[in-house]
């Protein structure tokens, strides 16, 4: 009997751990990249908090696509804002007038430099993955 309780506790602990580190499937998100783009990078956000930020060196004369995915079907609860190297906001996937959230953005870069991608969440999805792709 004691062993059963121990087992139950271990299973419960594992569930908690797995929930805390839930990961969205990258493959499903990569499949949403538009044709012609080449996959570059994954941003796997297993612990979705208030905001998360990454940086990447984007190159001049290159088109980038960033696709946002969560565990479920809807993808309109992840907001990404792109900043340039001087922390000036370039764009966001949320239309400020209508509030509409786009699940993907395509960005034509004309100035090579370090850019920042800041992710924020509506209703905090269980997990979030974003994939970056490029084409010339």
């Amino acid at each position: 009997m004691k062993n059963i309780y121990t087992l139950l506790i271990l299973v419960a602990l594992q569930v908690v751990v797995l929930k805390g580190h839930a990961q969205c499937k990258t493959d499903e998100c990569v499949a949403k990249i538009s044709s012609g783009y080449t996959f570059l990078k994954t941003y796997q956000m297993s612990q979705v908090g208030d905001q998360l930020e990454y940086s990447y060196v984007l190159s001049k004369d290159t088109n980038y696509m960033l696709v946002m995915c969560n565990g479920g079907g809807a993808q309109n609860n992840i907001i990404v804002t792109l900043y340039d190297s001087k922390r000036k906001e370039i764009a966001t996937n949320q239309d400020k007038a209508s509030g509409k959230v786009f699940p993907a953005i395509a960005y034509r870069c004309n100035a090579t430099g370090i850019y920042y991608l800041r992710f924020s969440f509506i209703d905090k999805p269980e997990c979030c993955v974003s994939v970056l792709a490029f084409k010339r």
Partner: protein
């Protein structure tokens, strides 16, 4: 990954370090042997230390060598296997320093080969990569059988690029999590150096303006990599690499990148928000400066792949 409210510090640290680097006086040039001997007394040197989390962030910011290979192909340059590190060189690498660095170099070579869809060469390089990855105990992240199957059919080029990119991404993540960031940084440095070497070789042949600009733009990535490498200079081999890269940086310091900012334009196309950056960047670089970079890269790569 980081939480913005607690970790806004690292970009400031990065900026400060880059400023510090920009202000560095050029180090005196000694022989390689002296550099290695001198670096053994690392306790007397002061190296910048940045947090593990900041290292992880900078690692993620380093661009993929694939972008340069794609530019080279789309600029109309033919495939040239002679500019790559010969696939049988892997047996020469018997230190972890050389293994990690050349794993990155081979990774960039494989990306170049895949972009040009040369499956026979891809299979040869895959074998060398698998050996080095196994020797560094990261071979478990390399799905050799799947890659081999994909490489045997030219219709699978997108899948092949995806699998190889994610395999390298997984290796980097694993090394970082295992507190082996030094090896991760060496892999990234190797990949970057090889992409720059390929660009320099293409430049030597065609002298194309687009390639010249791409070489000059690497100033930004070099700054990031040196910031990372500076953290591990207590290791003689990394100190040697850093010192060699400093020679490169001395040339890059003379290159000016000016950006003129303009508001971007946006429109919705098929459910995707399309953003066009209206900013422009102008690069002030001379042919002499590019020639100097080509020469330094040529010498450095010969030492690292030997």
């Amino acid at each position: 990954m980081k939480r913005v409210n607690t970790l806004l510090i690292w970009p400031v640290a990065l900026l400060a370090a880059c400023t510090l680097f920009a202000g560095c006086s050029s180090e005196s040039k000694t022989s390689d042997e002296n550099l290695l001997v001198g670096s053994l007394d690392s306790s007397s040197k002061k190296y910048s230390k940045i947090s593990d989390e900041a290292i992880g962030e900078i690692i993620k910011s380093i661009p993929s060598p694939l972008e340069i290979s794609m530019l080279i192909k789309e600029s109309g340059n033919p495939y040239d296997s002679k500019i790559l590190n010969p696939e049988n060189n892997y047996s020469k690498y018997n230190s972890n320093f050389k293994k990690a660095l050349n794993l990155g170099i081979y990774g960039a070579d494989l990306g170049y080969i895949n972009i040009y869809d040369k499956s026979t060469d891809a299979l040869s390089y895959l074998s060398s990569i698998k050996t080095l990855a196994d020797e560094l105990n990261v071979g478990q992240f390399y799905d050799f059988n799947t890659i081999k199957r994909l490489a045997s059919n030219s219709n699978n080029i997108d899948s092949l690029l995806y699998i190889t990119t994610t395999n390298f991404e997984n290796i980097n993540n694993f090394l970082y999590e295992q507190k082996r960031s030094d090896q991760c940084v060496l892999m990234l440095t190797g990949g970057w150096l090889e992409a720059l070497h390929i660009s320099c070789e293409v430049y030597k042949k065609g002298n194309k303006t687009e390639i010249k600009e791409k070489i000059a733009e690497q100033k930004i990535v070099l700054c990031q990599l040196m910031l990372l490498l500076d953290n591990y200079r207590q290791q003689p081999n990394i100190d040697f690499l850093y010192t060699e890269l400093q020679k490169l940086k001395n040339v890059y310091d003379k290159i000016e990148i000016v950006t003129i900012y303009k508001e971007p334009t946006m429109k919705e196309v098929d459910g995707v928000l399309m953003i066009v950056d209206e900013s422009e960047s102008k690069i002030n670089v001379t042919t002499e400066q590019i020639n100097e970079i080509v020469k330094i890269i040529d010498e450095l790569r010969s030492k690292l792949t030997a």
